[in-house]
Symmetry: C2
DNA sequence: CGCCTGTGTTACCGATCTGTAACTTTACGA
DNA sequence: TCGTAAAGTTACAGATCGGTAACACAGGCG
């Protein structure tokens, strides 16, 4: 029983705020953000519209809060990755990079795994929507972490490889959304491995050339 | 003056059907598909709701028609490409592949270039929506053409390269939508070239090995 | 001239949307 | 036991949504 849970008539139940966020995330994934109203969210969460508005103020703020919650799951993701490969040696970091590929692939192949922020970016075109700030900040942060991982793995063009992997991952997500899980996105791991290999080989060639020169 | 234009009080004007489609595409890009109503579309197109419904029957059908129109532009794209590189030799096909990269990059960097179908896939989650059929068919068709191009360019793993390029392109589009045109998507051409090079080199290595063996 | 097709106009339907007001009930802690 | 804060209830406002009915009007063509 967690900190913010409550006992209602003998039944353990999370508090309304959490129930609303979880149900909103679920319904947003199922029907789209604009495809579900606050009334439905509140009812399905086992509460009512007034409580929802007392907690979040507006639907837009609820959306932003849902995205912040989703983005927070990425921290667990990186913590797990750091726990598996705690060393900072180039060899361990390269293994960690390969593990990153497998992990994001398995996460992205889950039901709506990691698509929430992309969906928001597409469904809410208004440039000053509170949700867009969350999306932008998250994307930049993830790119930074991936660049750092590539760099400590000894990749010379760390930013190039990180961007390549980032685009491939987002492409895999969106492609899965378009043509289903059996399309090109199914080969994400193989493609990503090939790209990593080519960037590693490029670094090797540079190093060999430097050795030749003296 | 085109076939379907009309002279109204001395002014050349396209017919309502075309005006509605063009204005709908524009407004869908600006406010999202669910973010704009049929009333607004009709008014902004200089006509009225009844005419819209007489032509398209429903908003969903209008959406599908808009996507079919957008998808049709890809045919012009490939025709231009074929016109520039009419030969089928591996050398010309490889040059054509590089030209494909540059062309889709410049197309994707245009205002909402090629994002309409992705937006629809994200905004319309219902699996039997008429728009989803258009999206799926289009994606498969484009992949087929790209695979064929890679193959005639002498790439051994034609499908692998085609999928890699496809995912990169879709990733670039969606990334641009998330963090703007100055993010990782700005390096799409460089990344795509690197990937092509690595797939070409892989083929070279295979061929060298076969030569060594006999 | 009369016909016909395409288009414009107005009014309307029922449903749903975000958001608010006022009030009642519940739970928990001092 | 009483006070307080969170949560539930009901009703409603104002707007917008997709979609339809009925009718007026226009131009082209025989």
């Amino acid at each position: 029983m967690m900190e913010n849970d409550k006992l209602v008539s003998g039944c353990v139940m999370k508090r309304p705020r959490e129930r609303i966020i979880e149900m909103a995330q679920l319904l947003f994934r199922k029907h789209g953000i604009r495809g579900v109203g606050v009334d439905t969210i509140a009812e399905e969460a086992g509460t009512n519209k007034m409580t929802l508005y007392r907690h979040f103020g507006s639907k837009d703020e609820l959306i932003a809060e849902c995205l912040r919650d989703t983005a927070g799951q990425a921290e667990v993701f990186w913590r797990d990755l750091d726990a598996t490969y705690p060393e900072d040696t180039p060899e361990d970091s390269l293994a960690k990079l390969h593990q990153w590929v497998r992990a994001v692939a398995s996460y992205a192949s889950m039901e709506g795994g990691g698509c929430d922020l992309l969906t928001a970016a597409f469904e809410l075109p208004e440039p000053d929507h509170p949700a867009r700030l969350v999306v932008e900040a998250f994307k930049r942060e993830q790119r930074g972490k991936l660049v750092a991982l590539c760099r400590s793995a000894g990749i010379t063009e760390a930013e190039g490889l990180a961007d390549a992997l980032g685009l491939l991952l987002e492409g895999a997500r969106v492609n899965r959304r378009s043509v289903g899980p059996n399309g090109p996105s199914a080969h994400f791991v193989a493609i990503a491995e090939a790209v990593i290999a080519s960037f590693s080989a490029a670094g090797e060639r540079v190093r060999e050339r430097e050795l030749e020169r003296g």
